[in-house]
């Protein structure tokens, strides 16, 4: 089932009664979710992602805007008539019912032509329990199971009535790290097997990136960027998305564009080919060209420069992915970033070089280089060349990509 959200806005009255202004949890949110896909709604806490989920489920009514399931306008439909399955963050399994009864609960609510006999219910419950692999636990009470098992029961309960849409609210946040890895694979498998359009909310970017067909990054009730995970990671549209995606976090420097070059502090790190604005897609193509250029030992970045202010210095943020640093030992090379070395963390396959730079925004720069090409340091300085495809330049004021 395709889900279309049109200009969805949700305002809550302010807790502080002296303030008349409403809190805007979701701000003209428009998005189309393709049928049968697994979509991750991603953002820091308080960005409105759970509210979007509640709006889709019907537990909250939007202040304005419309919601469509396929061609049906469900905006004013109460949750019970929407046919959604919802998995709550703390699972919300009925503690006094065993697994069997919990999963059967939604089926027993069916009335009229959908009413099922005891045997039909039994078949469906077993089928769903098998799908989430808990068929051995049907007699257990929720309190007698691990978090991961409860999670599966919650998913089974949401799936058993064959919902049009499956919604998951932070489904993995209550699980320990190992179980989380395992369960997210499981989620992906269940989603593929059932083919139900699934929307899941998370603040963990790794979780979203690893299993989603598409992610939507939110901030303060607005969509910052959406697209395939790799696409969003490789081409962040703004500084927020760049910082939010990727662990370790992207390294952000204050920089300047002047004299046809990109400067971080005093260091000129690469050439800049400013072109007139052409549109986002073009920009992407050009960046791909950049990758070719790196192979040709060229070192430059292309940006769109609307005002074409070649001569005037322009303040920018330069964000470099940890994997975008190439450690070099020859300090006299052109286009080098000079950093003050602090320490090295060896992690087997990779090595983190931790260092500082005067223009760095934050505490320490973390550069990840393959362990075999790890340079030996003697002095207090470490030099990097930057991979253009891993460098993103944002306007200092708007924080939008250039």
């Amino acid at each position: 089932m395709k889900i279309v959200l049109e200009n969805l806005t949700k305002k809550f009255p302010n807790r502080d009664k002296k303030m008349k202004e409403d809190v805007i949890a979701v701000n003209s949110f428009s998005h189309e979710i393709t049928d049968g896909k697994l979509i991750g709604l991603l953002g820091p806490s308080g960005c409105g992602k759970s509210t979007v989920l509640n709006l889709i489920s019907g537990l909250e009514k939007p202040t304005s805007g419309k919601i469509f399931f396929g061609d049906d306008d469900v905006t004013n439909l109460p949750p019970e008539n929407r046919g959604v399955g919802l998995v709550f963050q703390n699972y919300a399994l009925y503690p006094h019912l065993n697994v069997m009864e919990n999963i059967r609960f939604p089926l027993e609510n069916l009335r009229g032509k959908d009413k099922l006999t005891k045997d039909q219910m039994e078949v469906k419950v077993l089928e769903t329990a098998k799908l989430v692999q808990i068929e051995g636990l049907l007699d257990r009470k929720p309190g007698e199971m691990s978090g991961g098992q409860q999670q599966r029961v919650a998913i089974a309960r949401a799936l058993v009535k064959k919902p049009r849409v499956l919604l998951l609210d932070e489904p993995l946040s209550n699980l320990d790290a190992r179980l989380r890895l395992q369960t997210r694979e499981e989620l992906k498998r269940i989603q593929l097997e059932t083919g139900i359009t699934t929307l899941f909310v998370t603040h963990d970017q790794e979780e979203a990136m690893s299993i989603c067909d598409s992610i939507v990054v939110m901030k303060e009730g607005r969509i910052m960027q959406h697209g395939a995970p790799q696409e969003v990671y490789d081409h962040p549209q703004n500084l927020f998305v760049a910082k939010f995606l990727g662990t370790p976090q992207i390294n952000v420097f204050k920089g300047q564009i002047r004299d046809g070059g990109l400067f971080i502090g005093k260091d000129r790190v690469m050439d800049v080919n400013a072109t007139a604005a052409n549109g986002a897609n073009d920009n992407r193509v050009q960046k791909e060209e950049n990758i070719d250029r790196v192979q040709k030992k060229e070192n430059s970045i292309r940006i769109q420069n609307k005002e074409n202010e070649k001569t005037v210095a322009r303040d920018v943020y330069v964000a470099v992915r940890p994997e975008g640093f190439v450690a070099v030992s020859d300090t006299d090379l052109k286009d080098i970033l000079h950093c003050d070395f602090m320490k090295m963390e060896v992690m087997g396959r990779d090595t983190s070089i931790i260092c500082t730079h005067e223009a760095f925004e934050g505490t320490v720069i973390r550069a990840i280089v393959p362990s075999e090409s790890r340079p030996q340091f003697i002095g207090g300085e470490v030099c990097f060349k930057l991979k253009p495809s891993k460098v993103h330049v944002f306007d200092a004021e708007t924080e939008e990509v250039l």
Binding site: G85, L86, N90, A92, Y94, P95, H96, L97, F105, N109
Partner: protein, 299 residues
């Protein structure tokens, strides 16, 4: 520290409680039990003829005791389920409104802080019928074309009706208080989950709300049963101290009469009646516990 020393410390810590419970609870209980088997006990000389079960047989054949037993059982069987049920309905109503909720909660709790005897007096005035004036209730009955009934001094069913009405009214506030707070403690997420699954309202109540608050309902039932079996002051408030004459005596009232009433001075009969009451309350509580094992869900 050695094990022995630890045990000693534990006993030392328990000592004050053991002494107090021993003097004021265990010793009197044993004493009452012994009294109940001492035949022909004389208060003045503190002597008795012999040991035996005559006291029990006397009490069980005393028509006043039989009447008290009957009254007590009627009061228990009518007021405990009714008051708990009504309290549950009122609590549900209270928790489903948002406006004026606190006001209503206060109003419903008021009877709890009011003196029983004062309330009894008001009830007497409301329900009475004398040669000169009718109470409010009788005025209402007349208004709808009925005949005045003397609820205080009249036929037994009328008196029992007032008695039960009064008892329910007195115990209701506490139960409402407990149940409203208990209902509020049910995590709303379960209701949301039920709503998503299109659960009808009645089913939400019977399948989710009721099991979740069942421990508290069970607690109220047990304390309600025990409280109702021990009813006495409520009866005095309505019908005065001579409950035997009014035919409205309870077991505790009978015990009191045996000790201090007009026919007083029979501690052996009182003790026997007290032991019988204890046996009844104990049996009922055990039955309650057995029933609860199947129906009450503890988190």
């Amino acid at each position: 520290m050695t094990n022995k020393k630890q045990t000693l410390t534990a006993w030392l810590c328990l000592l004050p409680a053991i002494i107090f419970l021993g003097i004021f609870l265990v010793y009197p209980m044993i004493d009452v039990f012994i009294y109940s088997f001492e035949e022909g006990y004389n208060f003045a000389s503190q002597s008795y003829f012999g040991l035996g079960s005559y006291n029990y047989s006397y009490v069980l054949h005393d028509p006043y005791f039989i009447q008290a037993l009957k009254n007590t059982f009627i009061i228990v069987l009518i007021t405990v389920p009714l008051s708990t049920g009504i309290a549950l309905i009122i609590s549900l109503a209270l928790s489903s409104i948002t406006k004026l909720r606190e006001l209503f909660q206060t109003i419903f709790f008021l009877p709890y802080v009011t003196n029983t005897l004062a309330v009894g007096l008001v009830f007497m005035i409301l329900f009475q019928k004398t040669a000169y004036t009718d109470g409010m209730v009788n005025v209402l009955i007349n208004l709808f074309g009925g005949e005045s009934i003397d609820f205080i001094d009249g036929p037994y069913p009328a008196k029992m009706f007032v008695m039960c009405f009064y008892t329910i009214w007195v115990v209701l506030p506490f139960k409402i208080l407990i149940l409203t707070s208990n209902l509020a403690s049910v995590d709303p997420i379960y209701y949301k989950a039920a709503q998503i699954d299109a659960t009808p309202k009645w089913r939400v109540f019977f399948k989710i709300t009721l099991p979740m608050i069942s421990p508290m309902i069970f607690y109220l039932a047990i304390t309600g049963f025990i409280g109702a079996f021990k009813a006495y002051s409520d009866e005095v408030a309505l019908f005065g101290t001579d409950l035997n004459a009014a035919g409205m005596n309870t077991i505790v009232g009978y015990i009191y009469d045996m000790l201090y009433g007009n026919s007083g001075g029979y501690p052996s009969y009182a003790s026997a009646a007290a032991i019988i009451l204890f046996a009844i309350v104990f049996t009922i509580t055990v039955i309650n516990l057995l029933v609860s094992e199947k129906t009450v869900y503890y988190q």
